[in-house]
Symmetry: C2
Subunit: 134 residues, 2 copies
């Protein structure tokens, strides 16, 4: 927990200072970018960002007000939506990415061996899956 909290904070401080996307913002945009072109449902996005539904609503609000994403009605379910990356969002993501990854390296990955990265990835993925499904 310490590692996650302290390194996320360090990365966000750097991002703020250089005008880049915050860690969680980058993560949401990247998830959208890698998803299907029609968009992703907020509930799915919440799971992948480890946010609650309401937390995700606020995050979406912020990103939408910056015109980085769009809310679209979901044709398959009138309650739901599809969140889509805007052209501007894609630009900002692309511009942010290189320094974002360097920041992850500096504040996290560079302190680990390749083997440790492998173990962490599979092990924590398992923990996250279990915790999210509750």
């Amino acid at each position: 927990m310490r590692a996650g909290l302290a390194s996320t904070r360090a990365m966000d401080r750097e991002a703020e200072a250089t005008g880049r996307l915050l860690f969680s913002e980058h993560h949401i945009l990247a998830t959208l970018n890698e998803g299907p072109p029609q968009g992703i449902r907020p509930t799915d996005l919440a799971e992948r960002a480890a946010l609650t539904k309401s937390g995700l609503t606020r995050a979406i609000d912020r990103l939408e007000s910056q015109r980085l994403i769009e809310r679209r009605p979901c044709p398959a379910d009138a309650r739901g939506q599809l969140i889509v990356l805007s052209a501007e969002g894609r630009r900002v993501l692309r511009r942010s990415a290189p320094e974002h990854f360097r920041s992850i390296a500096r504040n996290f990955a560079d302190h680990l061996t390749d083997r440790e990265v492998d173990v962490l990835t599979t092990a924590l993925e398992r923990v996250a899956e279990a915790a999210v499904r509750r």
Copy 2:
């Protein structure tokens, strides 16, 4: 990050529901309990809890208002303080601990092999040390 966020949230929800100490509260009291009897300096405590100075001030405020800890003047440095676990704090910690550890097991450790626990511990400790020192 997902694993840490989601499992901490799950544990805090359980703790709230059963009237136990929250994860971070337990961590602070346990750190005090394991430290020297004269107490621990807030700045040290902040590092061990991955909080900023101001975040720790607020956490201390809350625990003090519940009479679980005490602020004492620090004889060696008139600017500083020593935070000490109160008798009541020790009682509450002891009472909270068993279910706290079971909750950690359910929401985290049970999903990992022993080897994974070893790797995570040493690797993430290294990351946390590096991130905290900034």
